[in-house]
Amino acid sequence: MSPFWLSLKLAFWTTLILVPIGLLIGRLLAYKKFNGKSWVEALVYLPLVLPPTVLGYYLLVSLSPNNAFGAALASLLGTPLVFSFPALVLASIIVNLPFAVQPAQQAFAAIPQDTREAAWVSGLSTWQTFLRIELPQCWLGILCAATLTFAHTLGEFGVVLMVGGNIAGETRTLSIAIYDRVQAFDMQSAGIMTAGLLIFSIAALVIVRIAGMNSHRER
């Protein structure tokens, strides 16, 4: 599998798994007050400031079959997790947590409290309110979360290199392939791949901006 498709596959799985998680955590942070909420928020946003190598180090050490946890996980899955595609998915989910949670949290917080109360007095359960009232109003936030997660996963480097190494067809994503091509003095291939990532990143941000503007206009 070429680095291009591998990166798309990684971004696809990460987005698919992370967006629902981001919705749940985002909604929790937007509506609920509980003890230690600041701590939960700090943990969720930690990947924004934490160097990817720090996260990579912890993942590498904890998932390696050289320790008890990693060994148990390896025997459960039948294959060690480090230096494999699933390890990249796991790492990407953690790294992208803030990118999925933040837009969702903002979108939920922007729904007026009286709209939700109106739904409740109309006899809708919390679950029905979520599905029929909240979700339709924050779909632009969800789009933002998905786009940011997808684009950010494509560009991930440090944690991918540490947890996945550089294995063709398995963990050699687009950004790792660029690094690899530069070391081989193959500047042409590196140039094509970087241009592709640049264009994609700009497109992703434009989508996020437009979605953001529309969500303000709707209100």
Binding site: I21, S64, S84, F85, I167, A168, F185
Partner: protein
Amino acid sequence: MKSVLLAFFLSILVVNQSRANDAPLVAAASSLRQVWPLLMAAYAPEKNPRITFGSSGNLSRQILQSAPFELFLSADQSYSEQLYIQGKSIDEPTPYTIGVLAWVALPQTPLAHWLNRSTDPVSPTDDINTKPSFPFTDIKNLAIANPAFAPYGRAAMQALQANGVNKQSSIKFNMGENAAQTLQFALSGATGGGIVPLSLVTGLATQQLPKIIVSKIAPTMHAPLIHSMVLIDTPSSSATSLFNFLLSEQAQQIFEQHGFSAIN
């Protein structure tokens, strides 16, 4: 939550299928980067091996941490020996070629001037009075591979010490993660040049590079870089036949023609 777990395990299934691929997974020292396509052209396997280049130390660490490689081509003996000792390999390391160090510099740099004035600048037999001494004051920094995990970096450090350069010298070292990155650093123009594998700056390899001054370093200046390899765990037949090919006369000739020297 259930769907999340399901999706995750599905992705693992998808990956396991892709692993059932009979192209062997090879981890190789980055000194082999330029010679590898030539070796593969001669070998012409049904499926090209999937190769990962890096520093020998880094790759052997990854293998110890269960990276799924089947064949490890080290740039020295210690890292493949370690895999054997730790039980990752059934057989002891097999030498397949010997590495050669080279100075590399962009033209018109102080290092290039020094290299041009002394044909073999670091030979120990040279009369110290006839050769210009290493231009300490003119060279601010040098690119070498990181000696902590790259055999060529370790050898470069030994060659430098033999030349009077040591850690106390005012030269700053720009340390590459592996030999290939070191070359990239050395030719970036930001460093005064560097010490790299001859195999990366010789013959066909130079076509992609800017115009450079290359000067071979005498093998007596450092501990020999005996490249040795090990098959990992239970290798596939394609990995084993690749192992045998690298020892064949044909492969050995290619190594010798591209910046390596013969075993024995």
